[in-house]
């Protein structure tokens, strides 16, 4: 999985952090979505999900949709962190700054 560096689960804090990198175009977004969904499903209890986009350079609309879905399904909360100014603007243009926790 090229575009997900890794997912780390902090059991004590109940946080699943997924680190992404590179171009998250449509095929990469689909693959990432499947991988993250599998990881969430494997958890014993609901976790707060965090996407770290520190190394992402391109975001397709498919990944935006995936973020929206994750935001609405993550029972313990969802946040997007470590955005670059470039990716921050992508989320703002999509209107996500009003509905998701993005930093």
């Amino acid at each position: 999985m090229d575009n997900i560096v890794r997912c780390e689960f902090d059991a004590e804090a109940g946080v699943l952090t997924c680190f992404f990198r590179g171009r998250l175009d449509a095929p990469a977004s689909e693959a990432a979505a499947a991988a993250v969904a599998a990881r969430i499903e494997a958890l014993a209890s609901p976790a707060r999900v965090v996407f770290d986009l520190g190394e992402v350079v391109y975001i397709a609309s498919a990944f935006l949709r995936f973020c929206l879905l994750t935001g609405s399904s993550a029972a313990a909360g969802f946040a997007i962190v470590n955005t670059s100014p470039f990716t921050k603007k992508v989320f703002t243009v999509a209107g996500f700054d009003r509905v998701l926790d993005i930093s």
Binding site: A26, Y58, I59, A60, S61, A62, L64, R65, F86, K89, V90, F91, V93, A94, G95
Partner: protein
């Protein structure tokens, strides 16, 4: 929320995601997408034209093929080198850098008269400017517009365009159109249609470029090459059975050449109606309740219109001409009629003819297009000075001339700005550059006169305007050096 509002929400949600992705594409990526769409549209030009003709029952399918070619090929060639992404200009002297920024989701409202060509055109210019577009077709052209949008969408996606950058409505309704037009996420309404629809676009609260009706006078001034003029007017007015809003609506001639003009029309299949036939045709062509053209005759052939009016015309008639005395509501054929039917006026001299052209221009076509055939440059300039039109086409078929790219160097466009007179912000032929916001990075370049003049001078009531402006041309005094 109503069903229409729910659908508008879904369409705009997808479009917003596409807009976010579009923002990241550079010029090369955008140009690849635009070229792919133009090629696909060109490849499907005949199928789409036939679909439009079969569904709407208006126009001539072969002419619709040509319109599709103009929309795909000429529009593409016109915009392909335009810079619409990133830095588009940089001027070291003024210190200004211009950066293109997309507008966001656009609603493209499509008329029944030119459906597939307008779909292709609006998609190309929107994508070139990195804006997603939602196609909202006239209810009588839903299938052909969907087909055109589908072709363009498939090509765009294959070339790397964001998913959802082209969407289209498959069940057109007034409620949905209004819900889309007034949606807060919509950036612009690009409206082509009747006056009611264009007014609704401007009233929606969303920025709009709306193009409504024209009423094009064509003045065949006495110095004109009359045979050439008539040939071109017929070419223009019969093209796709007169469905282009820039097509001629009234021929104006001076008495001296009236008989020759009339004879040239007759030689080429023009049929002059007698007074009784004129009344019958007017009743068929114009709705008595609104004074506007009857949609049923739009894009019909001259023979079909004659049949609808219950009159006989000779075989081979391609154009009906109705002699008229004046322009105004009491003369229903003096307004816009998108069919091969022309009002015909004779005036004693240039001055009287010009005054009539003004009347016609202001009878529902302000800001649109005016046409003149003349070899007299000063007459052409006088006509141009007095017409309130975004385009004054000279010795050119008006339909094709106003659209641009074929007979002149106007930008190629199926959306013709009509200026303040037509409630538009511009008189330009709308194209990709009208669909970007331009950011200007302004480096410090001091206006020496301003910086070096103490503010006290302006605050001192004893200092008059002459002293401030200087006695010359008002462009500054000593500080200019």
């Amino acid at each position: 929320m109503s069903d229409a509002e729910v659908m508008a929400e879904e369409l705009l949600a997808r479009a917003s995601l596409a807009a976010a992705e579009f923002n990241q594409l550079d010029q090369a990526a955008v140009d690849r997408i635009v070229e792919a769409v133009a090629r696909a549209a060109l490849e499907n030009r005949i199928t789409l034209a036939r679909l439009a003709w079969e569904e709407t029952g208006k126009g001539v399918w072969q002419h619709k093929v040509l319109k599709n070619v103009v929309a795909a090929l000429l529009v593409y060639r016109d915009i392909r080198h335009e810079k619409t992404a990133g830095v588009i200009s940089e001027d070291a002297e003024t210190g200004i850098i211009e950066i293109a920024q997309p507008l966001g989701p656009i609603l493209g409202i499509i008329p029944v008269t030119n459906p597939t060509s307008t779909v292709i055109f609006k998609i190309l210019i929107s994508l070139k400017a990195r804006n997603p577009i939602i196609i909202s077709p006239h209810r009588a052209a839903v299938e052909c517009c969907a087909a055109a949008a589908r072709v363009c969408s498939a090509a765009a996606l294959a070339a790397g365009a964001p998913e959802g950058c082209i969407q289209w409505i498959t069940e057109s309704s007034r409620e949905l159109t209004h819900a889309l037009m007034s949606h807060p996420r919509l950036a612009l309404v690009l409206a082509t249609g009747g006056p009611g629809l264009v007014r609704a676009a401007y009233s929606s609260g969303t920025p709009a470029i709306g193009v409504g009706s024209g009423n094009v006078p064509v003045f065949v001034e006495k110095s004109a090459d009359i045979a050439f003029a008539v040939e071109n007017i017929i070419l223009s007015k019969t093209f796709d059975n007169g469905t282009i809003c820039a097509s001629e609506q009234a021929v104006v001639v001076e008495e001296e050449t009236a008989a020759r003009v009339r004879s040239e029309f007759e030689r080429r299949g023009g049929y002059f109606l007698d007074p009784e036939q004129t009344v019958r045709v007017a009743a068929a062509a114009v709705r008595a309740d609104t004074g506007l053209m009857n949609p049923a005759i739009v894009g019909q052939s001259a023979a079909r219109i004659a049949e609808m009016a219950g009159i006989d015309v000779p075989a081979g008639t391609v154009l009906l001409l109705a002699p008229q005395e004046e322009a105004g509501e009491e003369y229903p054929l003096s307004g816009e009629i998108l069919a091969p039917l022309l009002a015909f006026y004779v005036r004693p001299d240039f001055s009287a003819a010009l005054k009539l052209c003004i009347d016609l221009n202001y009878r529902g076509g302000v800001g649109h297009t005016a046409s003149i055939y003349s070899e007299n440059e000063s007459r052409i300039r006088e006509f141009a000075e007095l017409m309130n039109a975004g385009r004054i086409v000279v010795n050119t078929p008006s339909s094709q001339g106003a659209v641009g790219g074929m007979f002149n160097r106007l930008p190629v466009s199926f959306t013709l700005g009509c200026g303040a007179g037509g409630k538009n912000i511009t008189t330009e032929n709308i194209t990709a550059r009208n669909l970007i916001n331009i950011k200007r990075v302004c480096r410090r370049r001091e206006n020496r006169e301003w910086v070096e003049t103490p503010a006290e001078k302006y605050l001192n009531g004893a200092v008059g305007a002459d002293e401030i402006m200087g006695s010359g041309n008002g462009e500054g005094g000593e500080a200019d050096g």
